[in-house]
C-alpha cells in the first residue's frame, strides 16, 4: 500500500509531464486527480491498518540508496502516528485541491505541465513526511522546493513570476544549507541519520557533554532549515512573493503542506529538540516574533492573496512557537486545523479571483455575497475558524498553543501571541468584509470587462475570454465541492482537541503522545508540560483571548463592514510613516537587497572584471609576453611550432635534471 501511495503521484506526473503532453485538458486533470485518489485511498487503508495494530511505527525498505564509507542512507520509510497523519493531510487535502484545480485552470493552455508539477509535488512531499532518515527527508525537502519553484514560475512569460520562483528556491536553499550541516553533524557524532536509530540513541540513551553540545548545534542547524521552508524570520521573504503562482498552488504548497515541513521535521526529532533548551528558546522567540510581525503586515495589505500569505506566515509562527515551548503536539494540531481552514480560504480566494476575472485587489471587490453565496458561506466558516471563534477548529488549536506559550514561555510570549490573535481577527474580518459585504466596487458591468484587471492578473488566456458575463458569478460544483468538504472539516476537526478544562479529553494530544519523547536528561526542564494548573487560570486566559478576538473583529466590522470608511484615509495620511512601513513589509526585502544581494553582485563583478581578467589572466599573459620578449632579444626565432619548442625545452630539462641527479 505504501508503494501504491508513493508511486501513484509519480506515475501521474510522468504521464502528464512526459508522455501525454498533447492530451486534452480533461484527460490531464483526470490523470492527476486519479493519481491522488489512488494515493489517498492507499493512505487511508494504510492508516486504518496501522491504527488497527495499535499505532505502532512500522518501517519499510524500498532499496539501498547511498553507501560510502560508514555513511548509510537507504530509501526507507516510516509509518507511524505522525507520518500517518501527515500522509492523510497531504493526500486528502491534496486530492481536494487537485479536483478544484481543474476548474480553476480550465482557461489555461498547457495544463499538462501544471498537473505534472502538482503530482510531482505530492510525491516529493510524501518523501519528506514518510522518510525514515534525514536523507530521504532531505530529498523531499529539496524536491518540494523544486516543485514550488516550477509552480510559482508557472506563468513564466512574466519575468516577475520567474523571479519570484527563483527567489523562493534560493531563500530555501539558504535554509537547506543549515539542514545539510545538520546531517553532517548528526553523522559525525552519531554515525547514523536514521530517525529510528537516533531515537534509540538520543531519546533513550545517555549522552556525554560533547554529544549534548552536538545536539544543540544540530537542532540549531535544523531550525535554520525550518526557517527557510516554514517561512520564519529572517527567511520568510519568499512566501509572499510565492503568491505569483496559481492559487491552488498557494493553497496546497504555500499554506497546507510544504510550508509546514519545518514543524513536521521538528516534531519528528522532538527528542533532540527537548535536549537543546537554548535552541528551543530561539525557536520560541523566532516563532512568536514571526507570528506578530507577519500579522501586522497583513493588516494593511490590499491584495487578497497577500493577506492570506502573511496570515500563513503568522500562523506558521504560532506553530513554531508551540514547538519552541515544547508543545509539539499543539503545533501539529494547529498544523492540521490550519491545513483545513487555510486551504479553504485560499481556494475560496481563488474562486473570488476567478469570478473577478483575475482581479486581486480587495478594494475593487465588495458585495460578492450576493453573487457567490456558497463561496461566501464556506469562506465565512474559514474566517471563523482562523480567528478562533468557538467552537470552530482554530479556537481549540490556537488556544492550546497560547496556553502552552503561557506556561512554557511566560506572560510576555502569551501576550505576543494574544496580540497576534487580535491582529489576525482584525485582518481576517477586514478581508471578509471588503470581499463579500458592502457594495460591489468592481468595474465589472462596465463596457468591456476591465482592462486593468487583465493587466494585473497574468496574461494568458483571458484577454480573449468573452464567454463569461461581466458580473461575478458562482463557480461550478467542481470548485465549490472541495470547498464544502474543507469547510465541514474546518468546523469540526477542532473537537479532536477539546482541552480537559472544557470537559474534553484532548484526543489529539493522546493520539500523538507515543511520538513525543522527552529524554531522561531533559525531563526536569520540561516537567511544566505535565504539571497541573488551576483551571481558573486556563479558563481566564481562554476568555481573554476570546474577548480580544471579539473586540478586534468588531473593530474591523465597524471600519470595513459596509466598505472601507472614509476615516481610514485620513488615518492613513496622519500615520503615513507607520502605514508605509507596514505596507512595505518593514522594508526587509529592500534591506536584504541593498545589504546582501547587491554587495555580493558587486563583488562578483569585481572578481570577474578585475581579479580574473586583469590580475590572474594578466599575469598569465604577462608571462607569455615576457618569454616572447626574451626569445626575441636573444634572436631565438619563433618558428611557429609550439611542440618543437616544447620538445627542446623538455630535452633541456631532462638533461639538466639528469646532471643534478647523477651528481
Amino acid at each position: 500500500m505504501l508503494w501504491v501511495m508513493l508511486l501513484a503521484p509519480l506515475v501521474g506526473a510522468f504521464l502528464n509531464g512526459l508522455v501525454l503532453r498533447k492530451a486534452p485538458k480533461l484527460v490531464s486533470h483526470m490523470i492527476a486527480v486519479g493519481a491522488m485518489a489512488i494515493a489517498f485511498a492507499a493512505a487511508l487503508s494504510m492508516y486504518l491498518g496501522m491504527m488497527h495494530d495499535g499505532g505502532e511505527p512500522k518501517t519499510y525498505l524500498a532499496f539501498e540508496w547511498l553507501d560510502a564509507g560508514g555513511f548509510h542512507a537507504p530509501f526507507k520509510y516510516i509509518v507511524d502516528r505522525l507520518s500517518g497523519l501527515m500522509m492523510l493531510v497531504v493526500t486528502g487535502i491534496g486530492m481536494l485541491i487537485h479536483i478544484y484545480a481543474g476548474g480553476y485552470m480550465h482557461e489555461e493552455t498547457s495544463t499538462y505541465r501544471f498537473f505534472a508539477y502538482l503530482n510531482l509535488f505530492v510525491f516529493m512531499m510524501l518523501q519528506l513526511v514518510m522518510g525514515d532518515n534525514l536523507m530521504v527527508m532531505f530529498v523531499g525537502w529539496e524536491g518540494v522546493g523544486l516543485c514550488s519553484y516550477l509552480l510559482i514560475g508557472y506563468w513564466f512569460h512574466d519575468d516577475k513570476n520567474a523571479a519570484a520562483g527563483m527567489k523562493a528556491f534560493l531563500v530555501n536553499r539558504i535554509g537547506d544549507i543549515g539542514f545539510l550541516l545538520a546531517i553532517f553533524l548528526t553523522y559525525k557524532h552519531f554515525g547514523t541519520v536514521s530517525f529510528t536509530e537516533l531515537r534509540t540513541l538520543i531519546g533513550e540513551g545517555t549522552l556525554d557533554a560533547v554529544k549534548m553540545a552536538a545536539v544543540g548545534w544540530i537542532t540549531l542547524c535544523l531550525f535554520i532549515g525550518a526557517t527557510g521552508k516554514s517561512a520564519q524570520l529572517p527567511l520568510y521573504i519568499w512566501l509572499p512573493d510565492a503568491m505569483a503562482g496559481p492559487t491552488p498552488v498557494s493553497a496546497l504548497i504555500h499554506a497546507a503542506t510544504m510550508v509546514t515541513a519545518g514543524i513536521y521535521m521538528m516534531t519528528r526529532l522532538n527528542f533532540m529538540f527537548y535536549l537543546a533548551p537554548n535552541t528551543m528558546h530561539v525557536v520560541a522567540v523566532v516563532g512568536g516574533l514571526t507570528a506578530f510581525f507577519a500579522a501586522t503586515i497583513a493588516i494593511v495589505q490590499s491584495d487578497i492573496k497577500k493577506v492570506l500569505a502573511y496570515s500563513t506566515v503568522s500562523q506558521l509562527g504560532y506553530m513554531v512557537m508551540a514547538c519552541g515551548v515544547g508543545a509539539f503536539d499543539a503545533g501539529v494540531f494547529h498544523l492540521f486545523t490550519h491545513a483545513c481552514f487555510k486551504a479553504l480560504m485560499f481556494l475560496g480566494a481563488g474562486s473570488v479571483i476567478v469570478a473577478m476575472h483575475h482581479e486581486q485587489d480587495m478594494f475593487k471587490m465588495g458585495g460578492l455575497r450576493k453573487y457567490m453565496p456558497i463561496t461566501h458561506f464556506v469562506f465565512l466558516i474559514g474566517v471563523l475558524a482562523i480567528i478562533g471563534m468557538p467552537p470552530f477548529a482554530g479556537f481549540f488549536s490556537k488556544d492550546e498553543i497560547l496556553w502552552k506559550a503561557f506556561i512554557g514561555g511566560g506572560p510576555l510570549l502569551w501576550g505576543i501571541g494574544a496580540i497576534t490573535a487580535g491582529c489576525t481577527s482584525f485582518y481576517m474580518v477586514r478581508l471578509l468584509c471588503l470581499t463579500f459585504y458592502g457594495e460591489h466596487r468592481g468595474a465589472h458591468g462596465n463596457a468591456h470587462g476591465d482592462a486593468k484587471a487583465h493587466d494585473k492578473g497574468h496574461d494568458k488566456g483571458h484577454s480573449d475570454d468573452h464567454g463569461h458575463g461581466h458580473t461575478p458569478h458562482e463557480t461550478g460544483v467542481g470548485m465549490w465541492g472541495p470547498l464544502v468538504v474543507l469547510a465541514a472539516m474546518s468546523a469540526t476537526v477542532g473537537f479532536l482537541g477539546v482541552p480537559h478544562v472544557l470537559g474534553g479529553s484532548n484526543i489529539f494530544e493522546e493520539y500523538l503522545r507515543p511520538v513525543i519523547l522527552i529524554p531522561e536528561a531533559a525531563k526536569e526542564h520540561w516537567e511544566f508540560l505535565e504539571a497541573t494548573y488551576s483551571h481558573s487560570l486556563e479558563m481566564g486566559l481562554m476568555a481573554a483571548s476570546v474577548v480580544i478576538m471579539i473586540i478586534a473583529s468588531g473593530a474591523a466590522i465597524v471600519l470595513y463592514g459596509r466598505g472601507p470608511k472614509p476615516i481610514l484615509t485620513s488615518w492613513k495620511n496622519s500615520c503615513s510613516g507607520i502605514y508605509n512601513t507596514l505596507s512595505n513589509k518593514y522594508f526587509v526585502d529592500e534591506f536584504y537587497f541593498a545589504n546582501i544581494v547587491q554587495p555580493v553582485r558587486d563583488m562578483a563583478e569585481f572578481l570577474w572584471a578585475f581579479v580574473d581578467v586583469k590580475v590572474i589572466d594578466g599575469a598569465v599573459n604577462g608571462v607569455g609576453e615576457l618569454s616572447r620578449f626574451i626569445a626575441g632579444t636573444v634572436s631565438f626565432k619563433m618558428t611557429g611550432s609550439i611542440h618543437r619548442h616544447a620538445m627542446v625545452m623538455a630535452i633541456g630539462l631532462v638533461c639538466l635534471l639528469s646532471v643534478l641527479v647523477f651528481n
Binding site: 547511498l66 553507501d67 534560493l170 570577474w608 589572466d617
Partner: protein, 517 residues
C-alpha cells in the same frame, strides 16, 4: 571471452586511433561519419563489457595487459584499470557516440579531419586512463593535446588561435614540470632498488624524504592543477571553452578536465603521501576559493558558454577538496573520496549536457549572449525540459547525480575540516544562483525577440544525444550504489593505504571467472 578480456583495454585504446586513420581516407564525409559512429559505438560496447566484467569486490588493477618494451630502460607497456579509472573509461566511451551524433549534420569540407581528430582524442584519453606505465601515461597525456589544439585552433571561434595557444602552452608548462619530476622519480627508484622501471606499480614503492617529495609533488600537482583547472590556474579554461566548437567543449569538460583530478588520485597522492598531507590545507583552500570564486564569476557572465565554463571551475573545486580531506587519524575521508570520483562522472554528464544545450541554441541563433534570449520555454518546451534537468543536476538537487557527489564530498570534508566544508557549502547556494539565472534568462520571461519566435524545438537527432544524458543524470541520483559499489574497494584502499600504496593486479585473461572472486 578470455581473448576479449585479455586485450579489451588495448583494443579500446588503439581501435579509435586506427579508425581515425581509416576515416581520413574515407571516400566521403558520409562514410567517415558512419565509420566513426561505428567505432564509437563499438567502443561504448567495449566500455560496457569492461563495466560488466569488472570485479567490484576487488581493489586490484584489472584487465591488465603487459609487455616489455625497452627492457634496458625498464619501459613496459602496461594497461589496466581499477575503481578510480573504471567510471571515467566508461564515461569516455559513452560520450563519444553522443558527440558524433551531435556532429552528424555538419557539412564542412574538413569534416573528415575533424572526425578523425575526435577519434584520436578518444585514444589519447582512454590511453591516459589505462596506462600504468609512466612513459606511456606521459605520451598519452601529451597526445591528448594535439587533437584538442587543432579542434580549437581550426574549428574555433574568433579568438581561436589565442585560446588554443594558451591552452597548449599552459598545459605543456605543467607537463614539463611533471616530466622533470617523473625522471627524478625514475632515478630515485633505480637508486633504491637497482632496477630501472617506469611501471607505476613499481614507482609506488619508492620512499622519498619529505623535502624531495615536496618538490616532486609540487611539480606533479601543478601539472594536474592546471588541467583540472584549480583556481588560480583556471583562466585558460573559459577561453578554451568559449572558442571551442560544441564537440570540443563537451569532451573538454566531460573528460579532459578529469585527467587532472584523476592524476591527483593516481599519481600525486599515493606517490608523495607525506607531501600531500603537508600540502592538503593549501589545496583545500584553493578548492574552496575555486568553488566560491567560480560561482560568483559565473554569475556575472553575459555569455552562456562562459557561464558554464566558470561553473566547471566551481564544480571541480568540489572534486579537489574531496580529494584532500585528510581525517584526524591521517586517513583520507572515504566519503569525500567517493564523492570526488562520483562528482567527476557527474560533472561530465551534467556539464556535457549543458554544453550540448548551449550548442543547440547557438546553432539556431549564432549567439550565446543571455540577453538575446528569453521565453524559449514557450516554443522549445523539450529544450526547456532538458535544460532544467541538466541545471538541477548541476546545482545538486537530490535525485540527480550532482547531489550525490556534492553531498558526499561536503560530508566527508566536514568530518575532516568543518570550517572548509561550511564555506564550501556556500557553493550549493551560489551554484543555484547562477544556474537559475541562466535558466531564467534563456527560458523564462516574455518571448519578445522576433528571431526567437521562429526557433524550432529539439529535433530527433538532438533528442538522441540529450536524452541519454538526462536519463543518466537521474539514474546516477537515484541508484548511486550501482556505481559506487564498483569502485568501493579501490577508493577505500586509496583512502586507507595511500601512505604505503601498492596495487595488486589481475591479468585480463583471469577476468572471466566472476564466481572465483
Amino acid at each position: 571471452m578470455q581473448l576479449i578480456n585479455s586485450h579489451i583495454l588495448s583494443f579500446l585504446v588503439f581501435m579509435p586511433l586506427v579508425m581515425a586513420g581509416v576515416v581520413l581516407f574515407a571516400p566521403s564525409v558520409a562514410v567517415a561519419r558512419w565509420v566513426a559512429m561505428g567505432a564509437a559505438v563499438v567502443g561504448f560496447l567495449g566500455g560496457l563489457h569492461v563495466w560488466y566484467w569488472f570485479d567490484g569486490s576487488s581493489a586490484a588493477l584489472q584487465f591488465v595487459e603487459s609487455y616489455e618494451w625497452i627492457p634496458s630502460l625498464g619501459v613496459k607497456y602496461i594497461v589496466g584499470i581499477d575503481g578510480l579509472s573504471l567510471l571515467l573509461v566508461v564515461l569516455t566511451t559513452f560520450l563519444m557516440p553522443l558527440v558524433f551524433l551531435s556532429q552528424w549534420h555538419v557539412e564542412d569540407s574538413r569534416q573528415k579531419v575533424f572526425i578523425a581528430l575526435l577519434l584520436a582524442l578518444e585514444s589519447g584519453m582512454i590511453g591516459a586512463l589505462a596506462a600504468m606505465d609512466m612513459v606511456f601515461f606521459y605520451v598519452f597525456w601529451e597526445a591528448m593535446l594535439i587533437p584538442m589544439y587543432f579542434i580549437i585552433g581550426v574549428w574555433g571561434g574568433k579568438r581561436r588561435i589565442y585560446a588554443a595557444t594558451k591552452f597548449v602552452l599552459y598545459t605543456v608548462l605543467g607537463s614539463l614540470l611533471m616530466l622533470a619530476a617523473a625522471v627524478l622519480l625514475y632515478f630515485a627508484h633505480f637508486r633504491q632498488t637497482g632496477v630501472y622501471s617506469t611501471s607505476l606499480l613499481d614507482l609506488y614503492s619508492v620512499k622519498l624524504p619529505l623535502s624531495s617529495q615536496m618538490w616532486m609533488f609540487g611539480a606533479f600537482a601543478v601539472a594536474f592543477a592546471i588541467k583540472v583547472p584549480m583556481w588560480p590556474f583556471h583562466t585558460w579554461l573559459p577561453d578554451a571553452h568559449v572558442e571551442a566548437p560544441t564537440a570540443g567543449s563537451v569532451i573538454l569538460a566531460g573528460v579532459l578536465l578529469k585527467m587532472g583530478t584523476y592524476g591527483l588520485l593516481r599519481f600525486a597522492i599515493p606517490i608523495f603521501p607525506e607531501a600531500m598531507v603537508a600540502a592538503a590545507p593549501l589545496f583545500i583552500f584553493c578548492g574552496v576559493v575555486g568553488i566560491i570564486y567560480g560561482a560568483l564569476t559565473a554569475w556575472v557572465q553575459k555569455d552562456a558558454k562562459k557561464m558554464v565554463a566558470y561553473s566547471s571551475v566551481s564544480h571541480l573545486g568540489f572534486v579537489v577538496i574531496g580529494s584532500f580531506a585528510v581525517m584526524a587519524g591521517g586517513e583520507l575521508s572515504v566519503e569525500a573520496l567517493t564523492g570526488a570520483t562520483y562528482q567527476m562522472i557527474n560533472h561530465g554528464i551534467s556539464t556535457g549536457a549543458l554544453f550540448f544545450l548551449v550548442g543547440v541554441i547557438y546553432e539556431r541563433r549564432h549567439t550565446r549572449l543571455l540577453s538575446d534570449f528569453g521565453g524559449l520555454a514557450e516554443n522549445m518546451p523539450w529544450f526547456a525540459v532538458m535544460l532544467i534537468v541538466a541545471t538541477l543536476s548541476s546545482v545538486g538537487l537530490p535525485g540527480t547525480g550532482g547531489f550525490v557527489g556534492e553531498f558526499l564530498i561536503l560530508n566527508g570534508v566536514f568530518q575532516a575540516k568543518p570550517i572548509a566544508a561550511i564555506c564550501a557549502s556556500l557553493g550549493v547556494l551560489l551554484g543555484a544562483v547562477y544556474m537559475l539565472t541562466l535558466c531564467r534568462k534563456i527560458l523564462f520571461g516574455p518571448l519578445d525577440n522576433p528571431e526567437n519566435k521562429e526557433l524550432k524545438d529539439l529535433n530527433a537527432r538532438e533528442f538522441g544525444y540529450l536524452v541519454p544524458l538526462a536519463i543518466l543524470a537521474i539514474v546516477m541520483g537515484v541508484f548511486p550504489n550501482a556505481f559506487i559499489n564498483k569502485t568501493r574497494p579501490s577508493i577505500e584502499h586509496l583512502a586507507k593505504n595511500y601512505k604505503n600504496y601498492s596495487l595488486d593486479y589481475r591479468m585480463g585473461y583471469d577476468m572471466t571467472d566472476k564466481s572465483a572472486n
